[in-house]
Subunit: 251 residues, 2 copies
């Protein structure tokens, strides 16, 4: 019986990503972390700091994924509207979380005290619990299957650490990579055949141009190691049968 | 009268982005390029190499933006399904573009000839024209307001170069950045007030932790330089009025 596949979606919130000012790093970081939890990142949307845009994305994606993550927009300034938008999407009130307030009071005790702006970071959609943040004062927020994380990548990373092992998932997608100094167009048929011959296995082909030569890496993905090994074996045989040298692990 | 704002959306197509294997660079690259054309990147979706996912994203986003860009999935291998998916979204046939075929025939004349796999790269949704690609054989594709670009960032860049100045847009969004060694939570009210006092101007607040100290950059964005300058002036006065040192250009 095919194992259940768990999926997550990610909404990246921030004008700075859409303007090109900031290079997003959270898609890749969260993708890798999710996979280790046995959860597949199925889709991502990047939206502006606009309430309607966030509400639309959150509601569309949470309806069809097991988990929904957001990054960005949970700081103390006027452009941090994620909590309000998600509360609206869920149809719940925004409340000040007593534990978050206590955390912030402690954090800011020696830093000028808990101002009204800082207290904004204790606001959560009603019914939420906190995700610890060892890097800075403001915690992340969990509301059921929704995870509201910081946008600054190293703070996001700390929140993911705190969540590690707490989400139910399935078998992680595993992969093996082989590389070959070949134009992918010369081996397209061979790749297509290998994928067709091994159900449950997906082969990605990633060409590159390096040291004045073209080459490609082939990433073989599946949840079962046996299936990957079988597919890689037949790929290697087929490539070597054409007189090509295969580099295990990729080039 | 408010000037018309031109918007574009981007669909990033590729399992390699969603698995975390590849760090996307095209969102930032295309955002910056679009802004120089006077077009704002309004939203981005990252979708898997699955036809239904691509069709859904393309149809949702082209309906509400002036332009739609896609990156990825236009190579010669089995996982390159972008052209078929977009043809399906548009309800048109896939045809072999005679000019693309000629380009590829010439490119591969000294590289083993035009195989069936390579000919896949000449396939376009009916009615499309080509976008020159000086980096490799396969051209990009334009179909009305839809632009189908390569996924490999330097090839994408070449296609953007070829498109520079050919798309109608409005006034580019311009920005000025100032920086301050301050916790953004201490100046949240001041930022909110400055934004409220200057209609048409958006202020983004981007905190950082560097050299053992917290600071923040404030990015003031608008289409009118005068409006930006006025907003920056009042922000600087307000910050300096609190005895803070402002770094022009950001920290």
């Amino acid at each position: 019986m095919a194992e259940r596949i768990w999926t997550a979606a990610l909404v990246v919130i921030g004008d700075e990503i859409l303007s090109g000012r900031t290079q997003d790093r959270n898609v890749a970081q969260i993708a890798v972390w999710l996979n280790a939890q046995g959860i597949r990142l199925a889709e991502v949307r990047v939206v502006a700091d606009r309430e309607e845009a966030i509400v639309e994305a959150v509601n569309a994606l949470r309806a069809r994924n097991d988990y929904l993550f957001t990054t960005g927009g949970i700081g103390p300034t006027h452009d941090d509207i994620t909590v309000d938008a998600i509360a609206k999407a869920l149809g719940v009130e925004v409340i000040v979380h007593p534990e978050a307030r206590a955390v912030l009071e402690k954090h800011y005790a020696t830093r000028g005290g808990l101002t009204e702006a800082r207290l904004r970071m204790a606001r959560v959609p009603e019914g939420a619990e906190l995700i610890p943040n060892r890097m800075s004062g403001a915690p992340g927020i969990r509301h059921g299957s929704i995870f509201i994380l910081a946008g600054v990548p190293h703070i996001t990373a700390g929140m993911l650490d705190a969540l590690t092992g707490t989400l139910e998932g399935g078998a992680p997608l595993v992969s093996r990579t082989i590389g070959c100094w070949v134009a992918e167009s010369e081996v397209a048929d061979l790749l297509r055949k290998a994928e067709r011959d091994h159900p449950g296995v997906a082969i990605g082909s990633y060409p590159f141009f390096r040291e004045g030569r073209v080459g490609a890496n082939f990433v073989v993905r599946a949840t079962e190691t046996d299936a990957i090994d079988a597919c890689v074996s037949s790929l290697v045989s087929a490539l070597e049968g054409e007189g090509r040298t295969v580099v295990d692990g990729g080039i």
